[in-house]
Amino acid sequence: MTRIAVVDYGAGNLVSIEQALSAAGAEVVLARGPASFEGADALVVPGVGAAGPAMARLRRRALEAPILAWISDDRPFLGICLGLQLLFEGSDEDGAVTLGALPGRTVRIADAPRLPHIGWNQVERRRAHPLFDGIAADADFYFVHSYAAVPGPGAEGLILAETAHGGRFASAIARGSLVGVQFHPERSGRDGLRLLANFVGLAAAGSPAESAATGGSRVPARAR
């Protein structure tokens, strides 16, 4: 059974994500410390709220370095909402210095008619990716946020999908075995459940979803 560690750092509800991953056939472990990463096939970092307090809690639980090591080993990883934003270098929301696994910053959505951006919106894909297998091109997903990550110069290739709310922002990113979504698949009905099931499938396969050329170092999948 595919084992998924969901990082529990006190940033939002984990009931739905745990339930959705379990429904997709995964064994879910809530990881409150790095020891829980042991034996996991994939890591999920969820979260809502502000970046600063979230980073403080990750550091207090000694989770920052193990998460970065996991990503640099190109092991299956999913960041959701704040869990996507934290991958970048910093956030304009409160000036927080974030994980810095990816080049770029989190900024306030430009030209938005209203903020927070709350509700269902389209996720326009720039390229095919197995994360979206079986999901209609015009499917809506649920968003709740005011800030979004902007990949740095030369890193625009990270962008898997975009969404418009006034300005456009990256609503899904991918590099090697890492994926991140700004929306909440665990709150996005059947399409969201399908996306999480697709991620569980990628984690089970244990190998990068895309060619290693687009990503960082590639290590062999662990023997199970």
């Binding site: 009931v15 809502v48 709220g49 209203r114 269902w120 009905g189 059947r190």
Partner: protein
Amino acid sequence: MLRVRVIPCLDVANGRVVKGTRFVDLTDEGDPPELAERYAEEGADEIVFLDIDAAPDGRSTLLEVVERTARRAFVPLTVGGGVRTVTEMRDVLRAGADKVSFNTAAVRDPDLVRRCARRFGSQAVVVAIDARRRGGPGDAAAGWEVVVKGGREATGIDALTWAELAVAAGAGELLVTSIDRDGTGAGYDTPLLRAVSDRVHVPVIASGGASGPDDFVAAVRDGGASAVLAASIFHRRRYSIGDVKAVMAAAGIPVRIPAGAPA
């Protein structure tokens, strides 16, 4: 493009969905998670639970209901009623809610909004404003007053001033209920909605007075609402979520029609 949300509201007491008029003559309408799941399948964009019980000893029942719902209905869940502290909000979120709605507690202690927004983010904090026309139900010119305790107690506070203050304190969304229209079926108070949505930059949820799909259209087109909430027209099955969305879509309002949802 961002869709306009259609939100069924479920009144919950003692762990059951109830319906009645103004908190009296309550009848048992079923299990909250079951109804929430049914609405989600029909295409509800979000579910609101209003804990009309809100007695201190009813909290554990509510938390259990929230958790069972979060395990069955994979759409956003907002819980209102009786949350008075940061710790209580934490417990409701931990049980599986995405947002908590504050009404009387926020009017009494606006700093509660600020504390909760700082801890959990503005996107999780909804301020519910119950408003009544000062000049009587037919007069929008005299403005609106905030009322609390389910409309039983007037505060003297101007509703538009309170809307601005609540957003400044950190509310990420306002749920605006017309007490004049609530339960009457006379349609949403669109001048109220327009006045609030012109004053603030956060989404405004319309509530109170819906009797048919045309009212939803008016709340958005004339009132500027980002989302529209209703209770009895869905519970009594006069209209399905799909019926309402079909009329909204025909009026040119962007709504989400999920694949496979019953019309």
